[in-house]
């Protein structure tokens, strides 16, 4: 059986707008991936726990609240602490340009702003996970 790419799509923090997360979840589904969608207002602890139980290859975080510099490193820290050192973390939402280098330095694989073609996200994840 061919290897299925499993991706957790999660919304940490308090903003209640998950349209973008759902669009990305749907696009990854259409790219043949298995997407675990966890809904709104997840704590970093809940996200890391779900990523562990689901043994995902990648975690996508959607953040529009401006709290990305606080939430993202916490999620990455917890994933690593659980032994999931090989999970790719990508970020979407409203992320100011000047924060991107800092996020990449924290270990985020990619940051996607509004207007990103969903096909590109799927392609990036596939390449990152399969090591192409």
């Amino acid at each position: 059986m061919d290897r299925k790419i499993r991706v957790l799509v999660a919304k940490p923090g308090l903003d209640g707008h998950d349209r973008g997360a759902k669009v990305v979840a749907r696009a990854l589904r259409d790219a043949g991936m298995e997407v675990i969608y966890t809904g709104l207002r997840q704590t970093p602890e809940m996200i890391a726990e779900a990523a562990l139980q689901e043994d995902v290859d990648a975690v996508g975080l959607s953040i529009l609240s401006g709290a990305h510099l606080a939430l993202t490193p916490r999620v990455i820290e917890l994933l690593r602490a659980n032994g999931q050192t090989d999970v790719h973390v990508f970020l979407g939402g409203i992320i100011p340009e000047e924060d991107v280098p800092q996020l990449l330095a924290m270990g985020v694989a990619a940051v996607y702003g509004p207007g990103t073609a969903t096909g590109k996200i799927a392609e990036d994840i596939r390449k990152a996970v399969l090591g192409e």
Binding site: A31, E34, V35
Partner: protein
């Protein structure tokens, strides 16, 4: 981690090792098979509870509150560990899936005695995926006392769960069809416990009456010692009726063990599993012996109506 280390870690309660082994088993890899061989002697202890019913009946919400009820410490069972397998459909076109059952199970986050795994059906049609039985064995061997298995939203004939689970809950909600639906064959027949969820909605009396009438008819030709499925009302989002549901599940488990049906269901389940394995393996072996192009050639002749399906079969065998 090699197979020995994986098996040891899973038995010792290592959650990362467990999650990774489930992936191996789901993908039917050599490592997954070898680990399952080693874990199999430790299976047969967990109570497998199936939760099925129409899409939108409230299965995930019910599992959310039921898992909490089963976790509640009692004098006999101070710490029951609960695993959940939640199956959702795969796209028939891309093979992808959005697995969304965790959205309704957020109350279970942070409880180390609970382990939730979402699975895509991956083309299987009976409401489960091909690997669900094997994954339930892994969780059983990992020491979970209860494994809750939530099927895809089931229509009328997704009844595989009844062959896998010891106890099958069929979840209905008011307004899902008249009483003729209740006398059709299929999903209602497999219920050990019938749950009318969303029981605060109008029409709950009608739904309950239709189900009870159906059960009364079935009772007439049931054996004297047969289990009579109770009909229970719940409002999962308010946790109403969940205590009673937990008691009914416990009563069913006691019935199964008292009557010998526990062992009988176990034997039937293993027989079904072996049967599936034999079929899949023989087909794969036969395919590997086919000369290249033989199947394609037969398909062309079939499409041209030169052969009937049975004649094509004769030719290929």
């Amino acid at each position: 981690m090699n197979v020995d280390e994986t098996v040891q870690a899973v038995r010792a309660g290592n959650r990362l090792a467990l999650a990774r082994l489930i992936t191996q088993v789901e993908n039917d890899t050599a490592v997954g098979r070898a680990a399952l061989d080693r874990l199999f002697p430790f299976t047969g202890r967990a109570h497998l509870i199936g939760v099925t019913g129409s899409p939108g009946a409230g299965k995930s919400s019910l599992v959310n509150v039921l898992a909490q009820e089963l976790r509640r410490p009692t004098s006999e069972k101070p710490d029951r560990r609960v695993a959940i397998i939640a199956v959702d459909p795969s796209s028939p076109f891309t093979g992808g899936a959005v697995l969304g059952d965790r959205v309704r199970m957020r109350d279970l986050a942070g409880d180390p005695g609970i382990f939730i795994r979402s699975m895509a059906a991956r083309g299987a049609l009976g409401g489960l995926s091909a690997a669900t039985a094997a994954v339930s064995q892994v969780l059983d061997a990992a020491g979970f006392d209860v494994v809750l298995i939530e099927t895809v939203g089931a229509g009328q004939s997704e009844v595989d769960i009844a062959r896998l689970a010891h106890t099958t809950l069929v979840v209905e909600s008011p307004g899902m069809g008249d009483d003729i639906q209740a006398i059709k064959a299929g999903i209602l027949e497999i219920a050990d416990i019938l749950v009318v969820n969303k029981a605060d909605r109008p029409g709950v009396e009608n739904t309950e009456r239709a189900l009870r009438t159906m059960l009364e008819l079935a009772k007439n030709h049931a054996a004297a010692d047969a289990w009579l499925p109770p009909v229970l009302r719940t409002v999962a989002v308010q946790s109403n009726g969940v205590l009673e549901l937990g008691q009914a599940i416990e009563a069913h488990r006691e019935y199964l063990q008292r009557s010998g049906h526990w062992q009988q269901r176990d034997a039937e389940r293993l027989s079904t599993e072996l049967d599936h394995l034999i079929q899949a393996t023989l087909v794969a072996r036969w395919r590997s012996t086919l000369p290249a192009g033989a199947l394609e050639a037969a398909l062309v002749e079939l499409a041209q109506r030169k052969l009937s399906p049975h004649q094509a079969l004769e030719k290929l065998l």
